[in-house]
Symmetry: C2
Subunit: 359 residues, 2 copies
């Protein structure tokens, strides 16, 4: 029995806040970040496989990562890898995937997921996604997964909920940007807000309709390729047109504007692993509350550090607390966790001083 | 014209205060510590070569370093490498070398030098050593080189001078242990004290006589091998007897007791490179007063750090001042410079926790 359920794994990010572990030639999603033996991309793929047959899993990534995808997901047919010739954020990425899948299967529904998030509690995830598929298959709805917040995190976007529609699914009232700490505390206490996990479910036809309504320039471009999607000429069409798409996120392009947007309350543990501190928060602690992964660490008056070094490396730290110590072999970063927002600037500074090769 | 001048390079130390750069299987003296392309041992050898012919240069080291010596000093004849079967400090080391050289050449004079010190100003060094050889060749004197102190260093031993004997050479009044800071300041201001560089000159016969007088147990043992030294059976004699020598320094055994001890004022720049801080003090500084050697370093609010990493490694440090950051590839040490006396304990702790293989 063939399935009309598809999955789009977005895999084109650079992950610069995780430098030096995340590098332009091997970003975060391709790294075995948690020491499990599987990269974040592979874990995302493994997680969806019980729900969506592998023939229906599509990975969208930048063309330069084609080799990494083939290496890490050898079971995936080459036709299931969509290679973007340029980085244009999530709206053009999702639009392409939707046109591609809709051309193959006009009845398709799809889940769109990042490749570099952490999710634990796979069976809860599966139940949640199956319920979500059921919901969007019966109506023209755009469904996003909302995570019950556990702290006033200022690094996430929030979703304000409206009225319930069916068990676990509610209307979305508003999407909000990353709030300040005081506002985040209000959000948390109100019980009306969820974290926006950036995981979406919808019918391919529904998201294309929504894009036509709210981002008609983008669909006007893609509509000129309707004869190409799902055929051997699709790659040529993309090569000629994709770069002219304006960079835009699906949140701005559609989700914040459409009125058929719903949120499903997700109970699995989730982190976007956006920063070293979030990795610290999501990792088991060893002596002195340090996160040491599989390093051998001796800590003297050293607490709260996020230590990431090549497997098996011996680290002796003395008189250092609440720092990031990230060593990739060719790059060593030592930086207070409180200064991690500087890392993007550091990457820029390194490029200016030592050139692209240093990155 | 054959020379009666010999050199003994002592090369058996472990250099544990420089861990993780200095390792038991490759101590400090075998490392290109200053990034010059030559190890400290090679620099010591190069420095003496204009004064002593290579046939007369003897390296004494622990047996486990035989391969390193052959690799780093390929011009040295195997017969010029004395391999100690055990570590017994400098007195047994120097006694063996003196008996060995005296057996080959009863008229021999010799300079004894560590292999892991830093000396700059080679021509000043050469003049100084030639003057010293001239002095000890004309009398039964034990001559030590004294460095004019430039700061109240509490890490060095001091020599108090007595009356002048000839230009630049004075009688030694006393040797003193490492002083406290207040005493070191008094020493510095008095003008009566020199740093003890641990570089000695004497006739082979003179040091053997002095050992017979002040450490007769040691010479009683070595005298049983008088028929072996300088012959093919010397190695067997050492293998049978060396381990039974008590560990003792030449300072305790002879220099502090003998009354024919003199000091030559040495004007070359010298450091025993005993600690990371002394390497910091003796190294050129880059931005933010950090010592970065040949690393590529970006420093944000980071000053006074001693950074030693594999050649060409990129280091980004933020919010770190007056630390040692020493990365050997398999070991990373981050430690305040002020805590460097802890390093020996750290090495012990590493051995206890992770075993010898981790060192």
């Amino acid at each position: 029995m063939s399935s009309h359920r598809y999955c789009v794994i977005m895999c084109g990010g650079v992950g610069s806040r995780f430098w030096p572990y995340s590098r332009e030639d091997c970003p975060k999603q391709f790294i075995d970040f948690l020491g499990t033996g599987r990269s974040l991309l592979q874990m995302s793929y493994d997680r969806i496989l019980p729900i969506v047959p592998k023939e229906n899993i599509v990975v969208v990534t930048n063309a330069r990562y084609a080799g990494l995808i083939r290496e890490q997901l050898p079971d995936l047919e080459p036709g299931n890898i969509l290679l973007e010739p340029a980085r244009r954020n999530t709206a053009p990425c999702i639009a392409w995937a939707a046109y591609h899948i809709h051309a193959l299967d006009p009845e398709a529904s799809m889940i769109v997921t990042p490749s570099d998030h952490l999710i634990t509690g796979e069976s809860v995830f599966e139940d949640c996604v199956r319920r979500g598929f059921g919901f969007v298959e019966s109506r023209d709805a755009l469904l996003t997964l909302g995570i019950t917040p556990t702290r006033p995190d200022t690094g996430y976007g929030y979703i304000q909920i409206g009225g319930p529609v069916e068990p676990g699914i509610l209307k979305v009232k508003t999407f909000t940007e990353k709030p300040g700490l005081e506002l985040a505390k209000v959000f948390l206490e109100s019980g009306e807000f969820f974290w926006n996990a950036g995981i979406f479910l919808w019918k391919a036809s529904a998201i294309i309709d929504a894009l036509r309504k709210h981002d008609s320039d983008l669909t006007a471009l893609f509509d000129t390729g309707l004869a190409d999607f799902g055929t051997p000429s699709e790659a040529d069409f993309i090569a000629r047109n994709f770069e002219s798409c304006p960079a835009n996120s699906i949140d701005y392009a559609v989700m914040e504007k459409a009125d058929n947007v719903y949120v499903e309350c997700a109970d699995f543990a989730w982190s976007d692993l956006g920063t070293w501190s979030s990795l610290y928060d999501n990792s088991p602690k060893t002596e002195g509350t340090n996160v040491t992964r599989d390093a051998r660490v001796l800590a003297y008056e050293a607490e709260g550090n996020m230590v990431a070094v090549p497997s098996g490396k011996l680290v002796v730290i003395d008189g250092l607390s609440d720092y990031i110590v990230a060593d990739t072999g060719d790059v060593l970063l030592i930086c207070p966790k409180s200064q991690e927002q500087r890392i993007r600037q550091m990457v820029t500074d390194v490029r200016l001083k030592y050139g692209d090769d240093a990155l």
